[in-house]
């Protein structure tokens, strides 16, 4: 088989590739369950269908889709401009820390606490992304490694804070902060569920992202910087501004995701506040074709994977890491399927290079 470059990217394949990837990942997951000595069909049912059997499942789905959507939207805007923020996990953590600092500092002072907590979360995440932007524009240090290293740093800072300055003095020495006051917390959207208004904020990024990327000059500039840096420079579109914009935006969104977790379902700072939402956001961004509407679908699917992974842990005693393997397979299959967006397979007898 040989690959032949298509004259133009295939629009049909661009939509089909994620579908194919999901199906292949499902098959891969079944093989994985079989290898672990479980009934593949029962496991697949637990993974994809059982979590949505009741209303609470849908609420949990929204809860998990929220941080994924926020992180992925920022990452996607960045990748469109060829700015690779793979440290959303760290910005998520810093957002949570900044929001927690405000929440714990203000206590139950009034209605204005929650907005300030959210703003602090966005600022914390954006600041952490800003460090990477500064180092990239000022010192040319590539953002892939810097944002990732900053993630490790942020997670250690969180670990230090919950064992030191922000530890709950009445918490029996557990590594966690005091619970936030009610006025610092996002209220559940409806009785009995844990999903909060953060879901609404996350959903708002879908039209906002679509308008930004497809309907504004700023979005156009970002895309040109990403697709044709030479042309962008010639047109006077500043790469430096694109880097700053993307890292502040994606950092801020990841920070918002972080603060919404600690001021929502978690309610306090703990050493582990994210099951890898920041990293999974990268997969969501690609699975969603770097387009806002696609990312919405991908975030819901990934949330289902997280939810199903938890059920598998409970009902089949499978480690949570199984979710990570399936996530990895999903992205690998997607990248493989994507080849046929740009190339067309040709079956012939002649041999190409190597």
């Amino acid at each position: 088989m040989r690959l032949e470059r298509r004259a133009a990217a295939s629009a049909a394949m661009a939509v089909l590739a994620p579908v194919i990837a999901v199906m292949l990942a499902g098959l891969g997951a079944a093989a994985l369950f079989a290898a672990l000595g479980r009934d593949p069909l029962a496991c697949l049912y637990t993974l994809f269908i059982a979590p949505l059997a009741d209303g609470n499942g849908w609420s949990e789905l929204g809860l998990k889709a929220t941080p994924l959507l926020l992180c992925a939207m920022g990452i996607a805007v960045g990748v469109r401009a060829n700015v690779w923020n793979i440290g959303a996990e760290g910005q998520f953590t810093m957002g949570a820390i900044a929001g927690a600092a405000v929440a714990l500092g203000l206590g139950d002072a009034g209605w204005f606490v929650l907005p300030l907590v959210l703003v602090a979360g966005v600022a914390g995440g954006a600041a952490w992304g800003g460090v990477a932007a500064w180092l990239r524009t000022r010192c040319n240090a590539h953002e892939i490694l810097v944002t990732l290293m900053l993630s490790y740093v942020a997670i250690q800072i969180l670990g230090w804070l919950v064992r030191g300055p922000m530890q709950d003095p009445e918490g029996f020495n557990f590594p966690q902060s005091p619970m936030f006051a009610a006025s610092a917390m996002l209220a559940p959207l409806f009785e009995g569920g844990r999903v909060t208004g953060a879901l609404v904020l996350a959903l708002l990024t879908v039209p906002a992202g679509a308008v930004l990327l497809d309907r504004t000059v700023a979005g156009y500039r970002l895309r040109v910087v990403g697709l044709a840096p030479g042309a962008a420079r010639y047109a006077g579109f500043s790469e430096r501004r694109a880097v700053w914009f993307c890292l502040l935006l994606s950092g801020g969104l990841a920070g918002l995701a972080g603060v919404c977790e600690v001021a929502g379902p978690i309610g306090q700072l703990m050493p582990s506040i994210s099951p890898g939402y920041g990293f999974a956001g990268i997969i969501v961004a690609f699975l969603g074709r770097l387009r806002p509407v696609g990312i919405l679908f991908a975030a819901v699917l990934m949330a289902l994977l997280y939810l199903g992974g938890e059920s598998l842990q409970i009902t089949q005693q499978l480690p949570l890491a199984a979710t990570g393997v399936i996530q990895g397979m999903l992205l690998l299959f997607l990248l493989a399927a994507d080849v046929f967006t740009l190339f067309r397979p040709r079956f012939s007898r002649s041999h190409g290079d190597g």
């Binding site: 240090a141 490694l145 250690q156 800072i157 890491a321 190597g354």
Partner: protein
């Protein structure tokens, strides 16, 4: 500080540097051929887990190391099929490999969690464990550390002084020209990638078989990414990479020692040192844009597909 302490510090530094050198050299060779594989962290983790599991089942550390290298090579093979065979985006594919490796090693490594085994050093010289403290310290320099010390010279010699090394560099500088000269660009890149995977697997196995020695989830904790940063720091030169790795080994060990030296820093904050040092090193080297541009393989990260 007496002799034993200085030697102990030196040995500990070399032991901390060894996995970075091994994994870093593999990536360096791979990047010299024009392939950027961001999956080092994932390959190291799988190498660490497979190496540990194979050692525990077979009872032989050497079989464990071999299994780790094969596992790393297999993962790199998947990466090669994706990025070289199917011309997929190298950055995204590398990230996918790491995400997969983190999950895979945690899932299949769960039964082996926190199960101590005799480390590589003690396996090699079991009868000398009652020797003098200084000798004992020196005995901690296990064969893989020696390999890590020799490998940069070997890699440097291969890249600069052999025909195969020259061809590999040509492929990394301009795949089109190398192709026009009749070299099998895709095959050479695939081989370099697989070599990088095997080295990453070996570096990971060093952690679980000699450095700790035990398997714990996510035990590579960013060393794969640090190795990637070291490749940039070294401006793609093996000896500089080893030097950088030793520097990092020292920072890591200094972090462990800080408490003994009376530096009052919380353990979590000390743990940030290697990551901050990585950023610092990247910043220092990247400021010199010209030097990076002159030394980076010109076709790094660019997919190549022969026309037709």
């Amino acid at each position: 500080m007496d002799e034993v302490m200085i030697v102990a510090l030196l040995v500990a530094t070399l032991r901390a540097a060894a996995p970075l050198i091994l994994a870093g050299l593999g990536e360096l060779v791979c990047e010299r051929a024009g392939v950027l594989n961001l999956g080092v962290e994932g390959m190291m983790l799988v190498g660490a887990m497979v190496g540990f599991a194979a050692t525990l089942t077979s009872g032989s550390v050497w079989l464990g190391l071999l299994a780790a290298m094969l596992a790393g090579a297999a993962m790199a093979g998947v990466f090669a099929v994706l990025t070289i065979g199917l011309a997929a985006n190298q950055v995204a594919s590398g990230l996918a490999l790491t995400i997969f490796g983190v999950g895979f090693s945690a899932l299949f490594g769960a039964p082996y969690q926190s199960h101590p085994i005799p480390g590589l050093a003690t396996v090699v010289f079991p009868h000398l464990s009652a020797a003098a403290p200084l000798v004992q310290q020196l005995l901690l320099i296990d064969p893989l550390v020696w390999l890590a010390l020799a490998a940069p010279f070997l890699a440097g010699r291969f890249l600069d002084r052999t025909r195969a090394g020259l061809i590999l560099r040509a492929v990394g500088e301009s795949a089109e020209v190398a192709h026009a000269l009749g070299y099998k660009v895709m095959r050479i890149r695939a081989l370099a990638t697989v070599f990088g995977g095997a080295m990453a697997g070996l570096g990971g196995a060093y952690l679980s078989l000699a450095y700790t020695p035990m398997w714990t989830e996510n035990m590579v904790s960013g060393r794969g990414w640090i190795a990637l940063a070291l490749v940039v720091f070294s401006t793609w030169k093996p000896l500089l990479l080893a030097l950088g790795a030793v520097l990092f080994g020292f920072v890591t060990i200094a972090g462990f020692q800080a408490e003994a030296w009376g530096i009052p820093l919380a353990p979590n904050l000390l743990a940030t040192l290697p990551y901050l040092a990585t950023i610092l090193v990247l910043v220092l080297i990247s400021r010199d844009t010209l030097r990076l541009k002159l030394n980076a393989p010109a076709a790094l990260g660019k997919p190549f597909h022969p026309a037709g």
